[in-house]
């Protein structure tokens, strides 16, 4: 079955906004959705990400040295705050879940298919 990445995007939040968000019910709603996705067999993985300041970029340059930089790969105002990896029959099923996901977590959700389907496990 195809797998999809559903990522949640939003602006970096101040401590105040973060506290506001925690009180909004989004966490509870997202937890409930995750339970439903486990029950329906779509769930592969899901989690939220720590804010941008926690990111490190590692890359090999032309001479083969590996360099590290503090901070995210792209400096933007909006960043990925968390994601689901889900198994869905087709895009319609993924989009139907994305509709529930954006309501639950209160942020825009980007749906992208993974390149290949995982091998069927015994």
């Amino acid at each position: 079955m195809p797998q999809y990445l559903l990522s949640v995007w939003g602006p970096e939040m101040t401590a105040e906004q973060q506290a506001e968000y925690m009180k909004s019910g989004a966490f509870e709603a997202t937890g409930k959705l995750n339970d439903e996705l486990v029950a329906s067999g779509n769930f592969v993985f899901a989690n939220g990400l720590e804010p941008l300041h926690s990111a490190t970029v590692v890359r090999a340059n032309d001479s083969g040295d590996v360099v590290m930089t503090d901070g995210p790969y792209v400096e933007t105002k909006e960043y990925m705050g968390g994601f689901w990896v889900l198994e869905c029959a087709d895009l319609d099923e993924a989009l139907a879940i994305a509709k529930r996901a954006t309501v639950a977590c209160q942020g825009p959700v980007e749906v992208r298919p993974f390149q290949s389907e995982p091998p069927v496990s015994g």
Partner: protein
Amino acid sequence: MIEEVFRTEFGSAVATLVRLFGDIDVAEEAVQDAFVIAMDKWASDGVPPNPGGWIVTTAKRKALDKLRRESTRGQRETRAVVEATVPEDTEPDMDDDSALPDDRLRLIFTCCHPALAPASQVALTLRLLGGLECPEIARAFLVPEETMAKRLVRAKAKIRDAHIPYRVPSDEELPDRLRYVLQVIYLVFNEGYSASSGALQRTDLCDEAIRLARVCSELMPDEPEVFGLLALMLLISARRDARVDANGDLVLLPDQDRSLWSRDRIDEGLALVRALLRRNQPGPYQIQAAINAVHSSAPTAADTDWSQIVALYDQLTVFTPTPVVALNRAAAIAERDGAEAGLAALEPLADALDAYHPFHVARAELLSRVGRVKTAAGAYHRALELVGNDDERLFLERRLRAL
């Protein structure tokens, strides 16, 4: 003759091949090849009794040949497809017309999938269901051929890679998904009828939109909005020949020579509207069709039943409470109650429609009727800043001079 078969059969043949091979590119190329062979063969042997079935069978054989050729080059995946589809030694039966009625419907809903950009939905629908070539579609929408080619390639890649399903939506999803299909068809029609720039009418697109709506009406006889859209387009396009005068200038509805209207299209459109009224499940396309039916039923512009039209716009406002609907309602009020009443109804729309040239045109016309020439001229100037269509521009310049 072959042109006619092409128009009616291309979409169904592609749809059937997509079902059989699960790949839009394979289907598109094979059907194209089949028509090339048909052009040659039918010229000497005559058209076969079941041309659609002949095309599907020939396309199937072309697609299988191609996939086998590729599989001998060692592509494991294609070999698997060929083996799963048809046993190695089977020749397709030349009498086998295996199109299922749902094939075309599946293809329509795939082409008009909401995960595709509206411009891509339109391009795919014209290419795969209408059989229009990429350069034709590019010309119709006044974009460079390369841009249109990329748009089509990208849309097909998204269908494949994101696994956009090839199926008819469930009853529960249908009303929402149908909206997109009807919107694509109406976009094609409007692009043909009132091109956003350049020449005023591109008749082929109007005819193609009407043909697509007819196909949908056969495939979804239980959906009144499909018939509403068909009726709407028939009634509007019936006025085609009256809409431009001998000099090629735009003529507005009240000034049109009604003897130039197409009686056949009006009769068909009116019959559809009457049937829809009996059905009594109104929707926005049906109401717009009914509004046009009131115009089409008036022997002269002065006979138009404006009270009826205002009442229909009130109904339409319930479904689509947009400023553009309010603008049309204001114009109808002006006809029923006079220009001052119309201007009063326009007033609250000024902010929302400031960048929409028909608003300024309507305002200018009403202002000039009540003798406020200076303000009217200002409104025409504003409309001229915004208008994109050459014929409409010339029309507005004439109106401005006539003040």
